[in-house]
Protein backbone atom coordinates (compact mmCIF):
# COMPACT_ATOMS: atom_id res chain seq x y z
CA UNK A 1 0.00 0.00 0.00
CA UNK A 2 1.23 3.47 -0.77
CA UNK A 3 2.00 5.40 2.37
CA UNK A 4 0.87 8.86 1.42
CA UNK A 5 2.37 10.29 4.60
CA UNK A 6 5.83 9.32 3.34
CA UNK A 7 5.41 9.44 -0.45
CA UNK A 8 4.25 12.61 -2.11
CA UNK A 9 2.20 12.03 -5.27
CA UNK A 10 2.91 14.59 -7.97
CA UNK A 11 0.21 17.00 -8.74
CA UNK A 12 -0.41 17.27 -12.40
CA UNK A 13 -1.60 19.99 -14.66
CA UNK A 14 -3.05 19.28 -18.07
CA UNK A 15 -2.59 21.78 -20.88
CA UNK A 16 -4.83 21.78 -23.91
CA UNK A 17 -3.75 23.71 -27.01
CA UNK A 18 -7.34 24.14 -28.08
CA UNK A 19 -6.90 25.38 -31.64
CA UNK A 20 -4.80 22.36 -32.54
CA UNK A 21 -7.32 19.73 -31.50
CA UNK A 22 -9.05 17.87 -34.33
CA UNK A 23 -11.62 16.23 -32.07
CA UNK A 24 -10.55 12.57 -32.23
CA UNK A 25 -11.39 12.16 -28.51
CA UNK A 26 -8.64 9.60 -27.95
CA UNK A 27 -7.40 11.46 -24.88
CA UNK A 28 -10.86 11.67 -23.35
CA UNK A 29 -11.72 8.07 -24.10
CA UNK A 30 -8.50 6.43 -22.98
CA UNK A 31 -7.55 8.47 -19.96
CA UNK A 32 -7.47 5.80 -17.24
CA UNK A 33 -8.68 8.24 -14.60
CA UNK A 34 -11.42 10.03 -16.53
CA UNK A 35 -9.75 13.38 -16.06
CA UNK A 36 -11.01 14.83 -19.34
CA UNK A 37 -14.30 15.54 -21.01
CA UNK A 38 -15.42 17.29 -24.16
CA UNK A 39 -15.71 21.02 -23.74
CA UNK A 40 -18.56 23.16 -25.05
CA UNK A 41 -16.27 25.42 -27.02
CA UNK A 42 -15.82 24.97 -30.74
CA UNK A 43 -12.38 25.63 -32.15
CA UNK A 44 -11.30 26.61 -35.67
CA UNK A 45 -11.44 22.97 -36.82
CA UNK A 46 -15.11 22.97 -35.85
CA UNK A 47 -14.67 20.48 -33.02
CA UNK A 48 -14.94 20.51 -29.23
CA UNK A 49 -11.48 20.30 -27.69
CA UNK A 50 -11.14 18.45 -24.39
CA UNK A 51 -11.19 20.16 -21.07
CA UNK A 52 -10.11 19.01 -17.67
CA UNK A 53 -13.01 17.61 -15.69
CA UNK A 54 -11.10 16.77 -12.51
CA UNK A 55 -7.41 17.53 -12.40
CA UNK A 56 -6.96 15.99 -8.96
CA UNK A 57 -7.49 12.54 -10.47
CA UNK A 58 -4.60 12.90 -12.91
CA UNK A 59 -1.73 10.58 -12.04
CA UNK A 60 0.56 11.97 -14.74
CA UNK A 61 0.53 8.67 -16.63
CA UNK A 62 1.17 10.74 -19.74
CA UNK A 63 -1.16 8.77 -21.97
CA UNK A 64 -3.09 11.79 -23.22
CA UNK A 65 0.19 13.46 -24.17
CA UNK A 66 1.46 10.34 -25.91
CA UNK A 67 -1.70 9.40 -27.76
CA UNK A 68 -2.59 12.80 -29.16
CA UNK A 69 -1.84 12.81 -32.89
CA UNK A 70 -1.83 16.58 -33.03
CA UNK A 71 0.39 17.75 -30.17
CA UNK A 72 -2.69 19.41 -28.73
CA UNK A 73 -2.47 18.20 -25.16
CA UNK A 74 0.23 17.49 -22.65
CA UNK A 75 0.43 16.94 -18.92
CA UNK A 76 3.23 17.90 -16.63
CA UNK A 77 4.01 18.18 -12.97
CA UNK A 78 2.57 21.17 -11.22
CA UNK A 79 5.11 23.49 -9.72
CA UNK A 80 3.87 23.33 -6.14
CA UNK A 81 6.21 25.76 -4.42
CA UNK A 82 3.37 27.79 -3.06
CA UNK A 83 1.07 24.88 -2.35
CA UNK A 84 -1.30 23.04 -4.62
Amino acid sequence: MLDTAKVKLSKAEVHVIKERCKGCRLCIEFCPKEVLEESDEINEHGVHPPRVKDESRCTLCGFCSAVCPDFAIFAREKNCQRGC
Partner: protein, 276 residues
Amino acid sequence: MMEELPHPYEKFLRMDRIPHIWCEGCGNGIILNCFARALSELNIDLNKLVVVSGIGCIGRVSGYINTDSFHTTHGRPIAFATGVKLANPELKVVVISGDGDLFAIGGNHFIHAARRNMDIQVICANNFIYGMTGGQSGPTTPLDSLTTTTPYGNIEEAFNLVHLAAACGAVYVARWTTFHTRWLTESIKKALQKEGFSFIEVVSQCPEIFGRYNKMETAIKMMQWFKETSTLQHLSDPAEAEIRPHNIMVGEFVDIEKPSYGRLLRELAARVAEKK
Protein backbone atom coordinates in the same frame (compact mmCIF):
# COMPACT_ATOMS: atom_id res chain seq x y z
CA MET B 1 -6.19 30.05 -15.52
CA MET B 2 -3.29 28.36 -17.33
CA GLU B 3 -0.98 30.48 -19.44
CA GLU B 4 -0.54 29.27 -23.02
CA LEU B 5 2.47 27.00 -22.80
CA PRO B 6 4.04 25.54 -25.91
CA HIS B 7 3.95 21.78 -26.35
CA PRO B 8 7.29 20.35 -25.12
CA TYR B 9 7.99 18.70 -28.50
CA GLU B 10 7.63 21.77 -30.68
CA LYS B 11 11.38 21.94 -31.19
CA PHE B 12 11.14 18.65 -33.10
CA LEU B 13 8.50 20.01 -35.46
CA ARG B 14 8.43 22.50 -38.29
CA MET B 15 5.89 24.68 -36.52
CA ASP B 16 5.23 26.69 -39.69
CA ARG B 17 3.67 23.52 -41.12
CA ILE B 18 1.52 22.54 -38.16
CA PRO B 19 -1.37 21.52 -38.17
CA HIS B 20 -0.35 18.57 -40.29
CA ILE B 21 -2.60 17.23 -43.02
CA TRP B 22 -3.45 13.96 -41.24
CA CYS B 23 -7.03 13.25 -40.34
CA GLU B 24 -8.44 13.46 -36.83
CA GLY B 25 -7.28 10.45 -34.84
CA CYS B 26 -4.79 9.31 -37.50
CA GLY B 27 -2.15 6.93 -36.20
CA ASN B 28 0.55 8.83 -38.10
CA GLY B 29 0.34 11.68 -35.64
CA ILE B 30 0.81 9.26 -32.75
CA ILE B 31 3.85 7.73 -34.43
CA LEU B 32 5.34 11.20 -34.89
CA ASN B 33 4.59 11.96 -31.26
CA CYS B 34 6.29 8.78 -30.01
CA PHE B 35 9.25 9.43 -32.30
CA ALA B 36 9.61 12.96 -30.97
CA ARG B 37 9.46 11.63 -27.44
CA ALA B 38 12.22 9.12 -28.20
CA LEU B 39 14.38 11.91 -29.64
CA SER B 40 13.71 13.98 -26.56
CA GLU B 41 14.49 11.25 -24.05
CA LEU B 42 17.70 10.29 -25.85
CA ASN B 43 18.70 13.90 -26.39
CA ILE B 44 19.59 13.05 -29.97
CA ASP B 45 21.68 15.59 -31.90
CA LEU B 46 19.11 16.96 -34.34
CA ASN B 47 21.87 18.21 -36.62
CA LYS B 48 23.00 14.66 -37.29
CA LEU B 49 19.64 13.01 -37.83
CA VAL B 50 18.15 12.42 -41.26
CA VAL B 51 14.55 11.29 -41.63
CA VAL B 52 13.63 9.71 -44.96
CA SER B 53 10.12 8.87 -46.04
CA GLY B 54 8.38 7.55 -49.13
CA ILE B 55 4.98 8.19 -50.62
CA GLY B 56 1.77 7.86 -48.66
CA CYS B 57 0.13 9.65 -45.80
CA ILE B 58 2.94 8.70 -43.43
CA GLY B 59 5.35 9.86 -46.13
CA ARG B 60 4.48 13.42 -45.25
CA VAL B 61 6.19 12.95 -41.88
CA SER B 62 9.55 14.05 -43.28
CA GLY B 63 8.02 17.43 -44.03
CA TYR B 64 6.92 17.93 -40.44
CA ILE B 65 9.99 16.89 -38.53
CA ASN B 66 12.56 19.57 -37.81
CA THR B 67 15.67 17.74 -38.98
CA ASP B 68 17.34 17.13 -42.32
CA SER B 69 14.74 15.13 -44.19
CA PHE B 70 13.91 13.80 -47.61
CA HIS B 71 10.71 12.70 -49.29
CA THR B 72 11.61 10.20 -52.00
CA THR B 73 9.77 8.56 -54.88
CA HIS B 74 7.39 5.75 -53.99
CA GLY B 75 9.12 2.75 -52.45
CA ARG B 76 12.62 4.13 -52.43
CA PRO B 77 13.38 5.65 -49.02
CA ILE B 78 15.46 2.65 -47.93
CA ALA B 79 17.64 2.77 -51.03
CA PHE B 80 18.08 6.52 -50.61
CA ALA B 81 18.87 6.06 -46.92
CA THR B 82 21.52 3.50 -47.85
CA GLY B 83 23.30 6.12 -49.96
CA VAL B 84 23.11 8.70 -47.19
CA LYS B 85 24.43 6.42 -44.47
CA LEU B 86 27.31 5.09 -46.53
CA ALA B 87 28.32 8.54 -47.72
CA ASN B 88 28.32 9.96 -44.20
CA PRO B 89 28.31 7.29 -41.48
CA GLU B 90 28.21 10.00 -38.79
CA LEU B 91 24.58 10.66 -39.64
CA LYS B 92 21.79 8.76 -37.99
CA VAL B 93 19.38 7.75 -40.74
CA VAL B 94 15.81 6.76 -40.01
CA VAL B 95 13.23 5.66 -42.55
CA ILE B 96 9.59 6.24 -41.62
CA SER B 97 7.19 5.02 -44.27
CA GLY B 98 4.06 3.02 -44.98
CA ASP B 99 3.13 -0.58 -45.59
CA GLY B 100 2.69 -0.19 -49.34
CA ASP B 101 5.73 1.99 -49.83
CA LEU B 102 8.03 -0.33 -47.90
CA PHE B 103 6.59 -3.72 -48.82
CA ALA B 104 4.82 -3.53 -52.15
CA ILE B 105 6.78 -1.28 -54.47
CA GLY B 106 9.66 -1.02 -52.01
CA GLY B 107 9.82 -4.67 -50.98
CA ASN B 108 13.02 -5.42 -52.82
CA HIS B 109 14.88 -2.59 -51.12
CA PHE B 110 13.68 -3.68 -47.69
CA ILE B 111 14.88 -7.25 -48.02
CA HIS B 112 18.31 -6.29 -49.30
CA ALA B 113 18.96 -3.55 -46.76
CA ALA B 114 18.00 -6.02 -44.03
CA ARG B 115 20.18 -8.71 -45.57
CA ARG B 116 23.13 -6.34 -45.70
CA ASN B 117 22.38 -5.19 -42.16
CA MET B 118 22.55 -1.54 -43.24
CA ASP B 119 22.83 0.65 -40.18
CA ILE B 120 19.43 2.32 -40.58
CA GLN B 121 16.22 2.19 -38.57
CA VAL B 122 12.96 1.55 -40.37
CA ILE B 123 9.60 2.39 -38.83
CA CYS B 124 6.58 1.15 -40.76
CA ALA B 125 3.17 2.70 -40.25
CA ASN B 126 1.05 -0.32 -41.08
CA ASN B 127 -2.52 0.87 -41.51
CA PHE B 128 -3.53 -2.02 -43.79
CA ILE B 129 -4.49 0.22 -46.68
CA TYR B 130 -3.34 2.79 -49.24
CA GLY B 131 -4.90 5.80 -47.63
CA MET B 132 -3.42 8.68 -49.60
CA THR B 133 -4.81 7.42 -52.90
CA GLY B 134 -8.28 6.80 -51.47
CA GLY B 135 -8.27 3.33 -49.94
CA GLN B 136 -6.90 0.54 -52.12
CA SER B 137 -5.63 -2.75 -50.78
CA GLY B 138 -1.98 -3.44 -50.14
CA PRO B 139 0.28 -6.27 -49.07
CA THR B 140 -0.75 -6.01 -45.44
CA THR B 141 -4.49 -5.68 -45.98
CA PRO B 142 -6.10 -8.45 -43.89
CA LEU B 143 -7.98 -11.25 -45.60
CA ASP B 144 -11.64 -10.45 -46.29
CA SER B 145 -11.17 -6.70 -45.73
CA LEU B 146 -13.11 -4.28 -47.85
CA THR B 147 -11.18 -1.68 -49.80
CA THR B 148 -11.85 0.17 -53.04
CA THR B 149 -9.94 -2.47 -55.01
CA THR B 150 -11.29 -5.40 -53.00
CA PRO B 151 -14.96 -4.45 -53.03
CA TYR B 152 -15.99 -8.10 -52.59
CA GLY B 153 -13.46 -8.78 -49.85
CA ASN B 154 -9.71 -9.23 -50.02
CA ILE B 155 -8.62 -12.72 -51.12
CA GLU B 156 -4.89 -12.14 -50.65
CA GLU B 157 -3.04 -13.16 -47.52
CA ALA B 158 -1.25 -10.35 -45.79
CA PHE B 159 2.49 -10.27 -45.15
CA ASN B 160 3.68 -11.08 -41.67
CA LEU B 161 6.12 -8.18 -41.60
CA VAL B 162 7.79 -9.34 -38.40
CA HIS B 163 8.56 -12.69 -40.00
CA LEU B 164 9.74 -11.06 -43.20
CA ALA B 165 12.09 -8.71 -41.38
CA ALA B 166 13.45 -11.47 -39.18
CA ALA B 167 13.96 -13.80 -42.13
CA CYS B 168 15.87 -11.14 -44.02
CA GLY B 169 18.31 -10.67 -41.17
CA ALA B 170 17.17 -7.59 -39.26
CA VAL B 171 18.93 -7.37 -35.88
CA TYR B 172 15.98 -5.81 -34.10
CA VAL B 173 12.36 -6.48 -34.92
CA ALA B 174 9.40 -5.22 -32.93
CA ARG B 175 5.72 -4.71 -33.49
CA TRP B 176 3.49 -2.38 -31.50
CA THR B 177 0.22 -0.67 -32.12
CA THR B 178 -0.36 3.04 -31.75
CA PHE B 179 -2.07 2.18 -28.49
CA HIS B 180 1.26 0.96 -27.08
CA THR B 181 2.74 4.43 -26.96
CA ARG B 182 5.20 3.80 -24.15
CA TRP B 183 6.44 0.49 -25.59
CA LEU B 184 6.75 2.03 -29.01
CA THR B 185 8.82 4.91 -27.70
CA GLU B 186 11.13 2.51 -25.89
CA SER B 187 11.55 0.41 -29.03
CA ILE B 188 12.38 3.49 -31.06
CA LYS B 189 14.98 4.47 -28.49
CA LYS B 190 16.44 1.01 -28.55
CA ALA B 191 16.58 0.92 -32.33
CA LEU B 192 18.22 4.33 -32.53
CA GLN B 193 21.00 3.14 -30.26
CA LYS B 194 21.49 -0.24 -31.88
CA GLU B 195 23.94 -0.90 -34.68
CA GLY B 196 22.51 -2.52 -37.75
CA PHE B 197 19.12 -2.81 -39.43
CA SER B 198 16.22 -2.30 -37.04
CA PHE B 199 12.60 -2.67 -38.00
CA ILE B 200 9.59 -1.53 -36.02
CA GLU B 201 6.13 -2.26 -37.34
CA VAL B 202 3.48 0.03 -35.92
CA VAL B 203 -0.07 -1.17 -36.39
CA SER B 204 -1.74 2.16 -36.92
CA GLN B 205 -5.27 3.35 -37.40
CA CYS B 206 -6.70 4.85 -40.55
CA PRO B 207 -10.22 5.48 -39.26
CA GLU B 208 -11.34 7.63 -42.17
CA ILE B 209 -10.76 4.97 -44.80
CA PHE B 210 -9.80 1.51 -43.55
CA GLY B 211 -11.88 1.98 -40.44
CA ARG B 212 -14.93 3.28 -42.26
CA TYR B 213 -14.86 0.49 -44.84
CA ASN B 214 -14.45 -2.18 -42.18
CA LYS B 215 -16.90 -1.22 -39.45
CA MET B 216 -14.45 0.70 -37.24
CA GLU B 217 -15.14 4.19 -38.42
CA THR B 218 -13.61 6.15 -35.56
CA ALA B 219 -10.14 6.35 -34.10
CA ILE B 220 -11.62 5.26 -30.78
CA LYS B 221 -13.09 2.09 -32.30
CA MET B 222 -9.83 1.20 -34.02
CA MET B 223 -7.79 1.86 -30.91
CA GLN B 224 -10.22 -0.26 -28.90
CA TRP B 225 -9.59 -3.07 -31.38
CA PHE B 226 -5.83 -2.65 -30.85
CA LYS B 227 -6.20 -2.52 -27.08
CA GLU B 228 -8.53 -5.48 -26.75
CA THR B 229 -6.96 -7.92 -29.20
CA SER B 230 -3.26 -7.30 -28.84
CA THR B 231 -1.24 -9.83 -26.93
CA LEU B 232 2.30 -9.32 -25.73
CA GLN B 233 4.57 -11.99 -27.16
CA HIS B 234 8.17 -11.01 -26.51
CA LEU B 235 10.73 -13.10 -28.38
CA SER B 236 8.16 -15.54 -29.65
CA ASP B 237 8.64 -17.09 -33.07
CA PRO B 238 8.39 -14.38 -35.74
CA ALA B 239 6.88 -16.93 -38.11
CA GLU B 240 3.86 -17.16 -35.86
CA ALA B 241 3.46 -13.43 -35.38
CA GLU B 242 0.78 -12.90 -37.95
CA ILE B 243 -1.92 -10.32 -37.36
CA ARG B 244 -5.39 -11.81 -37.06
CA PRO B 245 -8.60 -9.88 -36.34
CA HIS B 246 -8.81 -11.48 -32.91
CA ASN B 247 -5.07 -11.39 -32.14
CA ILE B 248 -2.52 -8.69 -32.87
CA MET B 249 0.73 -10.05 -31.54
CA VAL B 250 3.00 -7.32 -30.28
CA GLY B 251 6.39 -7.26 -28.65
CA GLU B 252 10.05 -7.49 -29.49
CA PHE B 253 10.66 -10.50 -31.66
CA VAL B 254 14.32 -10.22 -32.60
CA ASP B 255 17.14 -8.57 -30.70
CA ILE B 256 20.54 -9.83 -31.80
CA GLU B 257 24.00 -8.45 -32.49
CA LYS B 258 25.64 -8.49 -35.90
CA PRO B 259 28.19 -6.16 -37.46
CA SER B 260 26.55 -3.62 -39.73
CA TYR B 261 27.42 -3.20 -43.40
CA GLY B 262 29.16 0.05 -42.61
CA ARG B 263 31.40 -1.59 -40.04
CA LEU B 264 32.32 -4.39 -42.45
CA LEU B 265 33.03 -1.85 -45.18
CA ARG B 266 35.35 0.10 -42.91
CA GLU B 267 37.17 -3.10 -41.98
CA LEU B 268 37.48 -3.90 -45.67
CA ALA B 269 38.92 -0.48 -46.41
CA ALA B 270 41.45 -0.93 -43.61
CA ARG B 271 42.53 -4.30 -45.03
CA VAL B 272 42.88 -2.79 -48.50
CA ALA B 273 44.91 0.11 -47.15
CA GLU B 274 47.20 -2.30 -45.31
CA LYS B 275 47.94 -4.28 -48.42
CA LYS B 276 49.07 -1.27 -50.44
